[in-house]
Symmetry: C2
């Protein structure tokens, strides 16, 4: 990976640059965040010409290492106003890596009202007219690209909410089954829309393998790494069998499953929406309960959820989406939830933000509690078409809260809080509060240690140790996000010493380096600090590292816990 493409949408030029020395050791989030911090004015308007949208495969992406096929996207977020990194599976990351492309930097903005498709081949990047795609949603775009270029074409696209620059808009990535994975959080689809890029197609004909400096060492490490993934009970058994939705019953049991817009920590109908029920339903209907989001995935936490006739409804059907619609918005029918998930893929909005904002719309009285059919209509006909109501909803939970004058609005830095209640799982509350990305469970997934007892155990209901736990995990995650690895490699990495060693060996074997565990930690710290400095320059202060006020005075059953960290305790997070 020795090329960086710079795409200027103001004058429709492209430039292929060699990789500067200081970016050579970076990939994925480490690279996208570094580029955004170096080149985007922190106070710029996220939808203006001075924001940049950066894509980068991870350091190991394109190699045969398991779980390494994720693509990082970065920009200043229109949803949060912070720096934002969002990574996704699909085919694009591995295609770009094999084409030797380390990063794509999209800058400027067209002044004319014309839309473009960027077409990436081994010959470079061209601007193709895409006005005929305007108004189309993602599945139609992918189908049309497959019809035009064949099934191997890589596709990144935005739906109508992205065109309309809504803050919940995501960027869709075609996966190996011609379905959709997403750069979900932070409204990066709106940034792509502001650049007037409806679609990016990747034809990797002529691309070669990613070079590996020490193939023998690589093979040995890859084997140990893969074995550790299969050996660990979470990545080797729980996730492949039940998907991430295994968490519904676990969080319900822990009293940390936010229900009815964060009113309760347990949901009466949890069995109807659980991973176990989902698994049995898929098996009974002839869907797939094991499925990967990219070539080389051996965890296979995804699935293909089908209807009674065996017809496709959705895939990549995640716990956070099912929680958001099932428990938090009180929808009891898993088929309705699956249809909403499919619609969110199609129109192209983040399915976490989408789920949280629908529950907030229920809080506002705009949608009846638990009405899955109305949620589908709203997604398709309001958000998907950009009606006034769709504009309110499609701009995220925070806007729904403001538009309807609500007080119980679960956001941090304007991003919807995901599927784990911070009062009853306090470590994740520290992550929500301090993450450079706004409320984001993946930034430092303390659920591992608070609930799943991976990497030790920190009692979720007491404050002790939570800041340190979140800090360590956020540092580690920033580093992992730079490798192109999926975040679930953390389960074996935290419990099986050889797993983490093998990950470092994979990096060393690929690049001929001698990195140590400390180097990886330092990389994680450096990335967090770069991101934090960007946010400070953008206007964020310690006072923004706070949870919504209602968590402090509204106890959540069954533990009747409140959010009780002092400001000083939270602010210790940044002491590193």
């Amino acid at each position: 990976m020795n090329k960086i493409f710079r795409i200027n949408m103001s004058n429709l030029t492209t430039k292929c640059e060699s990789v500067p020395e200081e970016w050579a050791g970076l990939g994925g989030r480490g690279l996208t965040s570094t580029i955004v911090a170096a080149e985007v004015p922190p106070r710029c308007h996220p939808l203006g010409p001075n924001n940049k949208l950066v894509f980068a495969p991870g350091l190991l992406t394109g190699t045969p290492a398991a779980q390494s096929g994720r693509l990082s996207a970065g920009a200043k977020s229109p949803l949060t106003g912070t720096i934002k990194e969002s990574n996704a599976g699909g085919t694009a990351a591995q295609q770009l890596a094999r084409m030797g492309i380390k990063a794509i930097i999209i800058e400027g903005a067209p002044t004319e009202d014309k839309w473009y498709r960027l077409h990436i081949t081994m010959d470079g990047i061209t601007f193709e007219a895409a006005d005929s795609l305007v108004g189309k949603q993602n599945f139609a775009i992918i189908d049309e690209m497959i019809d035009t270029f064949g099934p191997k074409i890589g596709v990144l696209s935005i739906g109508v909410p992205g065109e309309m620059r809504m803050c919940a808009a995501n960027i869709s990535v075609k996966d190996p089954d011609q379905k959709i994975r997403s750069h979900g959080r932070g409204g990066l689809g709106a940034v792509m829309g502001s650049k007037k890029i409806k679609c990016i197609t990747i034809d990797d004909t002529g691309a070669s393998k990613v070079p590996i400096a020490d193939p023998d060492k690589f093979r040995a490490a890859a084997k140990i790494f893969a074995k550790s993934l299969l050996d660990h009970p979470v990545s080797g058994e729980g996730l492949p069998t039940y998907g991430t939705n295994i968490l519904i019953n676990i969080l319900n049991e822990a009293g940390g499953l936010p229900t009815k817009n964060f009113r309760y920590g347990q949901c009466e109908h949890h069995e109807k929406i659980s991973g176990e029920t989902m698994h049995d339903t898929i098996v009974e209907r002839g869907g797939k309960h094991k499925h990967g989001c990219h070539a080389g995935c051996i965890i296979q936490c995804s699935q293909v959820y089908v209807d009674r006739a065996g017809g496709y409804i959705t895939s990549g059907f995640e716990y956070e989406t099912i929680w958001g619609l099932g428990a938090n918005a009180m929808i009891e029918d898993l088929d309705d939830i699956a249809k909403c998930d499919n619609l969110m893929d199609d129109i192209g909005i983040d399915s976490i933000e989408g789920a949280v904002l629908l529950a907030t719309a229920m809080e506002a009285g705009v949608i009846p509690w638990g009405d899955g059919k109305e949620c589908q209509r709203v997604l398709r006909d309001e958000i998907g078409k950009g009606t006034p109501l769709g504009r309110i909803l499609g701009n995220g939970t925070g806007m729904v809260g403001t538009a309807y004058g609500l007080v119980r609005v679960p956001v941090v830095k304007n991003q919807g809080i995901p599927a784990y209640d911070p009062r009853s799982v306090k470590g994740i509350g520290i992550t929500y509060a301090t993450s450079t990305m706004g409320a984001d469970h993946t930034a430092g997934y303390t659920i591992a240690t608070n609930i799943l007892k991976v990497g030790g155990y920190v009692d979720p209901l007491t404050k002790d140790g939570q800041v340190e736990l979140s800090r360590n995990l956020q540092i580690a995650t920033a580093a992992v996000d730079s490798t192109g690895m999926c975040v679930f490699i953390a389960f074996p990495a935290l419990d099986i010493p050889e797993s983490f060693t093998a990950l470092i060996d994979l990096l060393n074997a690929t690049y001929g380096l001698d990195l140590t565990a400390d180097d990886v930690t330092e990389l994680g710290k450096k990335i967090l600090k770069i991101e934090h400095d960007f946010n400070t320059a953008a206007g964020f202060s310690k006072q923004d590292d706070r949870l919504p006020e209602f968590f402090s005075y509204e106890p959540i059953p069954p533990h009747n816990a409140v959010w009780d960290f002092t400001d000083e305790e939270i602010d210790e997070f940044w002491d590193f």
Copy 2:
């Protein structure tokens, strides 16, 4: 004024407290800001139970001093997230002052969905059921209160947008002609709505005169003060003749009249909407071109604008509103603008935010440029009824910008920028950037010196001296806002030495004090710092003291000026 009423909406109790020593020398903005800063948690949700809504007459309110009848309202603003003070004319301030009420602090929030009218008499404050008023707009409420209590009743009320807790909602105050003055900016109507108070009625039967410690000294000072108001060309001649709308032609000439959502600094149809045209139209139709917003006003900058048949359309028809609809939203017909102004009074939204957001909606393509009829429909049937489009618009310019993915969104701290372009009148840009209230021209009205050459002259197009000018004016204004005086007393105070001395003498004569000019300056500084500290604790940083990015790269004709202050230059503002 020796009583403070504390109204607890959580348990529907009232408490009458004596004035604490440290608040004794405060009134108006000085008092409301001090109370909000002392009692409201800076990070609280503005619509939650921990925000407080505080009303306070000024230090001189209720005395016979000219221009002293303004009421201050304060709270944490749902629009900006900052501390907010907004003052208004009308009858309430003088009634409260004569009743000996120094402040009313409304705290808590009802848990039940029931609405209240607070009824204030010399016997205390009672909670009256107001569910029958729900859904009514301000003129209907005022009429009903007059029918019930007679024409002397004081009324503060909110329309439907206030009930619905929209961020542009204001608080209406009945004026001596049974029409409306407004606590306009910052969405304080939404705070009143969150407390479920639809209306406050004031029956001052039995109230006595405000005591004056040294009546002879007071009379002498009052005479000098009044004479200075009449002697100064702006307050004695310009404003009484043409109203504030005299500024259309002046700002157009200066190239600082933002036109078509801040694209141009001059407006081709300026003559159609100018103060001169308005004056002639009013005279020709038999309206009133001189009119005061409260008893004791001798500037009389208000007017009664009537239709061809002589029927009332609107009053308190201000330059900023006429600019916003006429130049910035390109409406050419002054009657349409007047009808919009009336509608904004009726539904109860800030007519500056309302005008700015309508132009932003035009930028978004939601309303055709210059379509005054459609603006009336949108105000009445969308914002006034809380439709989804109405929710977007009624929550202010910033929400319109986000909902429609716009980049050219003229807000500072999410408050719409008023009628003076910061690129071509640079002093006011410093005020917009640094004001503790978000974009607010009244916070430090540099137009006086930049354009009207009052208090000297600072060239509006160069950076030199603007920070100092804005600082001095913001300090002085914070002090003036504490007296209950209208901000236009600044014109003689800046140019006629005896005027400012007389103001201090009025304070000393009323309270038996020996304040000096330095004391007044210190008071202003202290108020600004209290407000700034609140904002810092709420999460605002220096980086929030910035104008929208587009002002820095979009030159405004005819001077082709851009906003070119460095961050360091702006931040010098707080060096005092």
